[in-house]
Amino acid sequence: MFHWLEKRPFFFAVGVFIAIAFAGLVEIVPNFYKASQPVVGTTPYSTLELAGRHVYIKNSCNACHSQLIRPFKAETDRYGHYSLSGEYAYDRPFLWGSKRTGPDLMRVGNYRTTDWHENHMKDPAGVVPGSIMPKYTWMYTNLADIDTAYAEQITIKNVFAVPYNKPIPMKDGSTSVVKLADTLDGAHASALEEAKLVTADMKDQAIKDMVEAGNIPEIVAIIAYMNSLK
């Protein structure tokens, strides 16, 4: 049979393809039928948070930080409750990472503050002596890309039925609504409103002035994202 195959490239290629495609069919396809449902309390990202997530991705924060808490005592002691599949329902792409050069950030919003991030991003070793994390000083001058974040929100709302402007059940039994503006101007206005809540806890006057003038620097967006990780 193999001698026969080796003289017939077409059938050979078909054979190889069946051999390699088999595992994917069995392992991956079933999970798609049971696409992960959000757990109670998981909400889609707001415009500013999503812009911050884009800053996180732009700088490959996921090269050194995981967002996946494994079910071990040492991990739940250090980072909080282990991760649940449904908590990632709105993560496109997933940001689990594969290396912890720095600590896990899955629930960093529970134990780090706006003030802490503001100082830490500017000079990590100044906040955590011995830290080998680079300084991310350009985040204090580059502007966050609100347009692209808004474009992504519209896309996922239309294509993947992400529930913006719809009541979402919360853990305490109440419901919450993540608003999505109808227009780009509206998205800018709501992102700015959210940004002001962040800068209220920041010390850097230059950043406060930028946001007052209607410009949102990357640092404000990424802090909004970090604070949303709970």
């Binding site: 193999f2 080796e6 490239p9 050979f12 190889v16 393809f17 051999a19 390699i20 595992a23 392992e27 991956i28 999970n31 992960s36 991705i57 732009k58 700088n59 490959s60 090269a63 050194c64 995981s66 079910p71 071990f72 040492a74 991990e75 002691d77 250090r78 991760s83 649940l84 599949s85 908590e87 990632y88 329902a89 709105y90 496109r92 792409p93 997933f94 990472g97 290396k99 912890r100 050069t101 720095g102 002596p129 011995g130 830290s131 680079p134 300084k135 991310y136 000083t137 350009w138 580059n142 347009d147 692209t148 808004y150 474009a151 992504e152 519209i154 896309t155 239309n158 993947f160 780009l184």
Partner: protein, 493 residues
């Protein structure tokens, strides 16, 4: 005419040999920079404060992985294909104008793709998925390049004189099909600019899959990109170049059959070992773990087949640096394909995952196996392609020992670093509290990071010696006649 030997046309092979060397230097140089940045964070600003955004660790890290995978390794795969393909199919590319055109188009489009990747990654335009960081316009370009390569492969096969496909051809076909399937499915994404009616960055896209599903597809891809980029085509190379260089027949045809079909069937299952203790269903994790262990069989099958090919001819290892490279490559292949399954055992993975031990594992595979094999292939090809003797055998020997030392320093330091950090993360004191804060587990790694950086630098130095030797071979090597080109590659002292 009829009785003259075939004149193979190596013009496309030469182009890809050049890009193998150049992109190898780029990828490894960026890797060495990263290694020093981890040991001495001041190096994040090695081009000054103003360029810090483009020179810091996190921005450069995807550039390193992609430059060595899609730059150095793929160039090597293409270079050897355009050499090996003609020879084992007994047909010259010069016989078909179309194939010649496709080959050259393949090279130039590939270069355009590489340039786009470098620029976009430095600017921070990335999807964040490992080894699939490229945004949709580049994805489309990559698919086109891949299809052209496929046309080259099947076009050459279509006009072949030798009816039976040699083992190497099996592996090249599998490389083509495997990457095509994986790449397409993992890069399914929706461009937001078009889906939102023209808002935001035109190149931005959002993944078709969310959360756990996205992770599952990504590591099915990520693990098997290793399979079909770092294993399958490299096995294709060693099945051709080791028997050729040593003048020995492949030890066992049956073993090569078993290893090939075994590898094809088993490899794809093992992706789940990247997701142990994550939120993907438990049965998939177990499958990933079990199939990783089974994977030892086909991997060792190929490696043992290669080592036994040298049976009775072991003196060649001492006399020829080229044989040294290939024998060490298959040894590292065995080593790395044993280490991987060990790390895929759940209890070991609980310790090893997220640590530098994984980084060490990747590098003993790519530096020892992939890197050594590609350099050996190019060394073997150079005299046949350029009709010149290898410029310096003694330089090859020194290169071999410098790089071997580099690899050993690399993986030993990363083992110690990974296991140390893993143990410290989980340590509790007598009251049940965590014994170490995270930063303690970072500071302790400094000496190992430094040793790794030295190891990486040694490997880069060896690679620069390789580049120099190749350059001198092209320009100043003694000319050799066709009749001199038997098995062992001609080398000047």
């Amino acid at each position: 005419m009829e009785n003259r030997p075939l004149e193979y046309d190596y013009s496309v092979a030469k182009m890809f040999m050049l890009s193998t060397v150049v992109l190898g230097i780029v990828g490894m140089l960026v890797g060495v920079i990263l290694a020093w940045q981890l040991a001495f964070p001041g190096a994040n600003l090695f081009l000054g404060e103003a360029l810090g955004e483009y020179t810091n660790f996190s921005r450069l890290r995807p550039l390193h992985t992609d430059a060595v995978i899609f730059g150095f390794t793929l160039s090597g795969v293409f270079a050897t294909w355009y050499y090996v393909g003609q020879r084992v199919l007994k047909v010259s590319m010069a016989e078909s104008k179309l194939l010649m055109f496709l080959g050259k188009l393949h090279f130039w489009l590939y270069l355009v793709g590489v340039a786009a990747v470098v620029v976009s990654l430095v600017l921070g335009i990335t999807t964040s998925k490992e080894y699939a960081e490229f945004e949709w316009p580049i994805d489309i370009a990559i698919v086109i390049v891949w299809v052209i390569w496929g046309l080259s492969i099947f076009g050459l096969i279509g006009i072949r004189r030798e009816r039976s496909l040699y083992i190497s051809i099996w592996y090249y076909i599998a490389t083509f099909l495997g990457i095509a399937m994986l790449y397409l499915f993992n890069n399914m994404e929706v461009p937001t600019y078009f889906a939102s009616g023209g808002i935001g960055a035109w190149y931005h896209s959002v993944s078709m899959y969310a959360g756990t599903n996205d992770a599952l597809v990504q590591w099915w891809y990520g693990h098997n990109a290793v399979a079909f980029g770092f294993t399958v085509p490299i096995v294709a190379m060693i099945y051709y170049f080791l028997p050729k260089e040593s003048g020995q027949a492949v030890y066992s045809y049956k073993l090569s059959l078993l290893s090939f079909w075994g590898l094809m069937f088993v490899y794809l299952w093992a992706g789940g070992h990247h997701l142990l203790f994550s939120t993907v269903p438990d049965w998939m994790q177990t499958m990933g773990s079990v199939f990783s262990i089974v994977l030892i069989l086909p991997s060792w099958g190929s490696a043992i087949n290669m080592l036994l090919t040298m049976k009775g001819e072991w003196q060649q290892v001492a006399s020829s640096p080229l044989i040294k490279f290939m024998v060490l490559a298959s040894t590292f292949y065995m080593f790395s394909t044993l280490e991987g399954p060990i790390q895929a055992i759940k209890s070991v993975n609980a310790l090893a995952h997220f640590t530098d031990w994984i980084v060490g594992h990747v590098h003993d595979g790519v530096l020892g196996w992939v890197g050594f094999m590609i350099m050996a292939a190019l060394f073997h090809m150079a005299p046949r392609v350029f009709k010149r003797e290898i410029y310096s055998k003694s330089m090859m020997n020194s290169q071999f020992w410098i790089q071997t030392l580099g690899v050993i320093l690399y993986f030993t330091s990363m083992w110690i670093a990974g296991i140390t950090q893993g143990m410290m993360w989980r340590a509790h004191d007598e009251f049940g509290n965590l014994a170490y804060s995270f930063i303690d587990t970072v500071s302790v790694l400094h000496p190992y990071f430094t040793i790794r950086a030295v190891g990486g630098t040694l490997y880069l130095v060896g690679f620069l010696m390789f580049a120099w030797n190749m350059y001198k071979t092209m320009t100043a090597g003694r000319r050799v006649e066709e009749s001199e080109l038997q098995n062992a590659t001609p080398m000047a002292a």
